[in-house]
């Protein structure tokens, strides 16, 4: 019972912060709202007994990505920053999103999910994750590190100033 209440509270905070991200006029406020939403998702991971993923979420999203976004905001301070941040297709976009949401909710409620009784042992899923990551998913795992390296080099090359980098 108390678990349901906590889950509901986390869900409301997460969605409210996400509304803040897409509704606020200030880019910096949007970044702060995004941080709240991402930490809310990390709390959801904790409620689902996925401690490792919650930790990764806080480290990578809450730490790295938010900081990088804030850097980008500060480096792209244009004089026009006070303008409205939304474009003309806003009503159309809102309609499309409400429609998609209705569709997704209908699908989620109509599908006969083959549910299982969730285990209470957090170590079981953690052990399974680490075993899978280093057996069946070893090659994708290594390729992911290559992807990160290439993205890093690409970012450095793209942002390098000077004539030879252009």
């Amino acid at each position: 019972m108390i678990e349901t209440a906590i889950l509901g509270a986390i869900g409301i905070i997460t969605v409210a912060a996400a509304v803040g991200v897409v509704a606020t006029r200030s880019v910096v406020y949007a970044a702060v709202f995004l941080l709240v939403s991402l930490v809310g998702v990390a709390a959801l991971f904790l409620m689902m007994l996925a401690e490792f993923i919650a930790l990764a979420q806080v480290l990578i999203y809450g730490g790295a990505i938010t900081i990088v976004l804030l850097f980008a905001i500060m480096l792209t301070r244009a004089p026009e920053q006070t303008n409205v941040q939304d474009n003309a297709q806003r009503p159309l976009a809102a309609m499309a999103c409400v429609g998609l949401f209705a569709l997704l909710v209908a699908a989620a409620l109509a599908t006969p999910w083959r549910t299982r009784d969730p285990g209470a042992d957090p170590m079981a899923e953690f052990t399974a994750l680490s075993e899978l990551l280093f057996s069946d998913f070893l090659i994708p795992f290594e390729i992911a590190s290559l992807v990160l390296l290439v993205a890093l080099i690409g970012a450095v090359v793209l942002t390098r100033s000077g004539r030879e980098g252009a």
Binding site: V22, L34, L44, I53, I60, I65, T76, A78, L152, A166
Partner: protein, 102 residues
């Protein structure tokens, strides 16, 4: 409403808010934030499936790890492109930027 359905509806709400941000926002950095919201919505769905649906237990956890990794790579690269655009045009307004050339 079961916890699974609650999590699915929550993820759907996050995804639709992110989609709205991608479609309606003008600032490139705000569009990137909305994409992060959508990626997180997918992760919420995956963790719900991992816990409550048969046959997805650990695979979903692996997928979440990969989604987080790719999101980190994506945001770094995309922000590099945004900075490059800002240097070339002095703006990050997506309505005013139509090419990547100088």
């Amino acid at each position: 409403m079961t916890v699974l359905e609650f999590m699915l509806i929550l993820g759907a709400a996050l995804f639709c808010l992110g989609l709205y941000g991608v479609l309606a926002r003008r600032n490139a950095v705000l569009v990137l934030m909305s994409i992060e919201l959508m990626l997180n919505a997918v992760n919420v769905h995956l963790i719900a499936f991992a816990r409550y649906v048969i046959g997805t237990e650990a695979i979903a956890h692996v997928l979440i790890i990969f989604v987080i990794t790719i999101a980190a790579a994506e945001v770094g690269l995309a922000l590099a492109i945004v900075l490059r655009m800002f240097r070339n045009w002095e703006t990050v307004n997506l309505d005013r930027i139509s090419t990547l050339q100088q």
